[in-house]
């Protein structure tokens, strides 16, 4: 067999998805199913005086109407919805139940649930529930939360959720700023983003006719985590729960949670003995699915006369929203370690204050903390370049870790050990592919000519922390779970291979990539490999897919399980060929005895022999299957340099992204076709933050743009072709040398785009622009108004 790893290979997943055969949750129909309709609060903060459910109960096709207190009384749960990441011992964590009890804390919080026999009937009945609210003052921004004149939760006196510091050496940090020749300060707004996976979230809970078992089909990234958390929240035994993530239409972190609807569907189905389902509408998703970002950042850099950074000090105020969801408080901390970027920073300090607001909860969204960090340091690097009077490429070059040369296992000021890096050649490749010198010349030409359309060139060298995660490192952060991943590889009697993976794809093409890894390892055809996943009855052990972890943890586990399969097969082969195992070679799926041409056994024959168990070594268990649970010794740190080229219309403020060049380094690649696709999609989500997207709220906490009519997910029209290239610096954190690429594009692109706009407008004295850089903001910046 020719090696397939490292070559572009078409996806196994595609034929089903291309023909409409892919089954998403809403595609699965069950006889006797009931539709949930959610009665949601129109107020961001209000007391519930009373709820009249009589009209809804009387409506045709309605099987039940339940208020929060009624559901609580039915004993449907034994604990509030979980937060798995209590970042400090004294973190405030308001009780969060699937439905409000007596006070609502954000628009769209569930107040009551109706069950009806049709999709439309549930929506109609929800409209008939009459709730009497007493509105309370709402906290609708971080600024309002800090101000504290209103509190988001009446039961709490302050909006402050926690204070989290990471200042390894405070004296060194203070000295760095005291002795600096240059200092720059950047203050940035990370606006709230609506993740907007194209498939809205949905659930379908199906009770078993006997035994009290419940199967939950959920549009989730984390069926394994969900199973543990539903058991802990509802008191239903894990042994009675089966969670299935069928085809999942994108996640981006937004399906990495334990949601009220998931608890409600499971418990109501269990209680009533009927299937219960719900699919969010797109406009509902602004309230029923968490949002991303929501931070105010302040970053200060100290540098010597040459622009060499001597210190970096960061403070973040983070918007938790109304409640702590699964990892809400930890998201800013995931970024905390990366505010020094790819740079050699001797002294570092980070503090974060979390605040409650009366807005939809925040949680992970593509990159989760890391795009925010990358944005801050990469914007600040451009400010430092201006301050020192050198180009953005030069300021980066002067500060790269390891002098830009190749390094492995290097400790940084933020206490992490970067697995490997090699930044200068990556920058060189980006400058070359973008024709950087030519772009600068064209920029100068337009400036000299006073062209209405000015050219801007933005650089960003990002680094990502992925491969989440070494379980001990998570323990140090007070995270409530480990970071391992499980894999099983089994030969079937016919010589085909089944892989059971704890990773849970939602568009990343795991079936294809895992097949390629296994094919090369075992010397078989990738089409002879079937990958099973995303169903806790089939894959009982797993920690799922998020944080660009699938390949560097789950994929590595599969590779290691293949090694164990080969080891066992070798024992059998040696036994059957009457040879010493040490005298056997394994290549191309065949065991051969060294120095004995023709003495060969294909691994498929050994697999069949392991199945019949007629002739195995004494004491060996039949069958050829092995499992591995891999807990990585370190994170992985992919990096890359992106160049955004923008044309800014100085008369209208409109920004057009005319070219985008990305040179990424995710270590060794399994399937370059998939890697490139991940880069493209990631970049566009970062570009979208820079130019188009942002959940907008009024002072009363109403989202002004919950639908796709008003929330500007970009279309093909707004995007240019993306030019991609790669450097390869293998990771030292795992035997495959792989890193991760799912979030990289997003982590690099927002800063590159805003740097490009600011670069275009530097003759106008513009040094910063708030995201999204709308024409109005850009025009105001050009014309001296507030950005």
């Amino acid at each position: 067999m020719t090696a397939v790893v490292g070559t572009p290979r078409l996806r196994k997943e595609d034929p089903k998805l291309l023909t409409g055969e892919g089954k998403y949750v809403d595609d699965i129909q069950v006889a006797g199913q009931l539709w949930m309709g959610m009665v949601r609060s129109p107020y961001a903060h209000a007391r519930i005086n009373s709820i009249d459910t009589s009209a809804a109960e009387a409506a045709d096709g309605v099987a039940g109407v339940y208020t929060g207190p009624q559901l609580a009384e039915m004993g449907l749960w034994i604990a509030p919805l979980p937060c798995a990441w209590p970042v400090t011992d004294d973190m405030v964590n308001p009780e969060h139940y699937p439905t409000a009890m007596d006070e609502v804390h954000h628009v769209g919080e569930i107040v009551a649930v109706v069950l009806a026999d049709s999709r439309y009937g549930a929506a109609d009945a929800a409209e008939l529930v009459d709730v009497d609210y007493e509105p309370l003052d709402a906290v609708a921004s971080i600024a309002a939360a800090r101000d504290g004149s209103a509190t988001a939760h009446s039961a709490h006196e302050t909006n402050k959720a926690y204070h989290w510091p990471l200042i390894p050496d405070p004296d060194a940090l203070e000295a760095a700023f005291a002795n600096a020749t240059h200092t720059v300060t950047g203050e940035f707004v990370q606006q709230r983003l609506i993740p907007a996976a194209m498939e809205p979230r949905g659930v379908l809970a199906v009770p078993s006719p006997m035994g009290g078992d419940v199967t939950l089909y959920s549009s989730t990234q984390v069926p394994h985590i969900l199973k543990v958390m539903i058991a802990a929240t509802t008191g239903i035994s894990e042994a009675k729960l089966r969670i299935v993530a069928p085809a999942v239409g994108g996640g981006f972190g937004a399906k990495l949670n334990v949601n009220p609807d998931e608890i409600l569907a499971v418990t109501l189905a269990n209680k009533l003995g009927r299937a219960v389902r719900w699919t969010e509408t797109r406009s509902e998703a602004a309230f029923s699915t968490h949002q991303g970002r929501g931070q105010l950042q302040k970053i200060e850099l100290a540098a010597d006369a040459d622009g060499k950074i001597t210190g970096c000090r960061v403070h973040v105020d983070a918007d938790m929203g109304a409640y702590m969801m699964l990892i809400t408080p930890g998201v800013p901390l995931l970024g905390s370690f990366l505010y020094t970027g790819v740079y050699d920073v001797p002294a570092f300090g980070f503090t974060c204050d979390g605040y409650f607001t009366n807005l939809t909860p925040t949680d992970a969204y593509r990159g989760a903390g890391r795009p925010e960090a990358s944005y801050a340091i990469e914007r600040a690097m451009d400010l430092l370049a201006l301050e020192v009077g050198v180009g953005p490429d030069e300021i980066r070059r002067r500060n790269y870790l390891g002098g830009g040369d190749h390094f492995t296992d290097m400790e940084t000021a933020s206490t992490l050990v970067f697995d490997s890096g090699h930044y200068s050649p990556n920058l060189d490749a980006a400058l070359e592919m973008s024709d950087y010198a030519g772009l600068r010349a064209e920029q100068q030409r337009r400036r000299d000519a006073g062209d209405a359309k000015q050219l801007g060139i933005g650089l960003c060298t990002y680094v990502e922390i992925c491969g989440l995660a070494p379980s001990r490192a998570l323990a140090g952060l007070n995270y409530g779970a480990g970071g391992w991943e499980h894999a099983m590889v089994r030969f079937l009697p016919t010589g085909k291979v089944e892989v059971v993976s704890g990773s849970t794809p939602h568009g990343q093409g795991h079936e294809t990539s895992w097949s390629m890894i296994v094919a090369d390892k075992l010397g078989i055809d990738p089409d002879d490999v079937t990958v099973l996943h995303s169903d806790t009855a089939i894959s009982p052990l797993g920690l799922d897919t998020y944080g660009s972890r699938s390949l560097s943890v789950g994929g590595v586990a599969i590779s290691m399980a293949c090694d164990k399969v080969i080891d066992k097969a070798k024992q059998i082969a040696a036994h059957q060929m009457e040879a010493n195992p040490d005298d056997l070679d394994f290549a191309g799926g065949t065991f051969s005895v060294k120095g004995q041409p023709g003495a060969e056994l294909p691994i498929q024959a050994i697999a069949f022999g392991a199945f019949t168990a007629h002739d195995l070594p004494d004491g060996m268990e039949p069958n050829l299957q092995e499992q591995v649970t891999f807990d990585p010794p370190n994170f992985a740190f992919p990096f890359g340099t992106h160049v955004a080229v923008t044309e800014v219309d100085t008369e209208t403020g409109e920004v057009e992204l005319i070219d985008y060049i990305a040179i990424d380094d995710c270590g060794n690649q399994i399937n370059p076709l998939i890697v490139e696709g991940q880069v493209h999609g990631g970049i566009v989500q970062g570009v979208a933050q820079a130019l188009y997207e942002g959940a907008s709220y009024d002072d009363a906490g109403n989202c002004r743009n919950p639908s796709l009519m008003d929330y500007l997910v970009p279309s093909a029209m707004e995007m240019p072709n993306i030019k991609t290239g790669f450097t390869t610096t293998p990771s030292t954190s795992n035997p495959l040398g792989v890193k991760g690429v799912g979030e990289a594009g997003t982590i690099g692109s927002a800063a590159a785009v805003v740097n490009a706009i600011c670069d275009a407008l530097s003759p106008y004295g513009v040094t910063d622009l708030e995201m999204p850089a709308t024409p109005q903001r850009v025009w105001n910046a050009i014309n001296g108004g507030a950005s």
């Binding site: 998805l17 996976a197 194209m198 239409g249 994108g250 797109r282 490139e676 970049i683 639908s707 072709n721």
Partner: protein, 160 residues
């Protein structure tokens, strides 16, 4: 109200509430779940189908408005022997899909686009697909897929 339609060459007849959206008729009544719903404002295009050969967002049409119509959904695009439609094949070869949720609508919209403009420029493809949103691919490989289906030379792999 009684709705009789021809869908993917087969005749269907059903009694539906007048307010039933065509997309819900296809999905919930007929079990043709390949057509997806991604929004509630006719913005995303996931529900795009063909009526009389032209692309239509099936969330903007009532089932009763489709009485007597010739409808093609994604389930009707591949050949009877399972051979993918050239547009489906192009999406596969150019990695024009990831999670696959927008894909049926994209394929339907792109097919309709090429029937009106068999040799579009890249800019025309981007404009032609403006009504279809994708969150995974960044559109790069979708545009490449449509260009490939139109017969434009395409290279797969890095640096393209």
């Amino acid at each position: 109200m009684l709705v009789e339609t021809t869908i993917n060459g087969q005749t269907y007849s059903a009694d539906v509430e007048p307010r039933t959206l065509l997309v819900h008729y296809l999905r919930d009544h007929l079990g043709l779940t390949g057509t997806n719903v991604g929004c509630d404002t006719s913005s995303c295009g996931a529900c795009t189908i063909h009526i009389g050969g032209e692309s239509v967002k099936s969330c903007t049409v009532l089932a009763v408005q489709a009485r007597g119509a010739e409808i093609t959904t994604i389930e009707g695009m591949a050949g009877d022997d399972g051979t993918l439609h050239p547009m489906q094949q192009a999406f596969m070869e150019c990695h024009g899909l990831q999670c696959g949720y927008c894909t049926p609508g994209m394929v339907m919209a792109a097919t309709s686009l090429l029937s009106e403009n068999p040799n579009p420029t890249e800019a025309e493809v981007r404009e032609g697909l403006e009504g279809n949103l994708c969150r995974c691919t960044g559109y790069h490989n979708i545009v490449k897929s449509v260009m490939a289906a139109a017969g434009s030379p395409v290279t797969i792999g890095a640096g393209s």
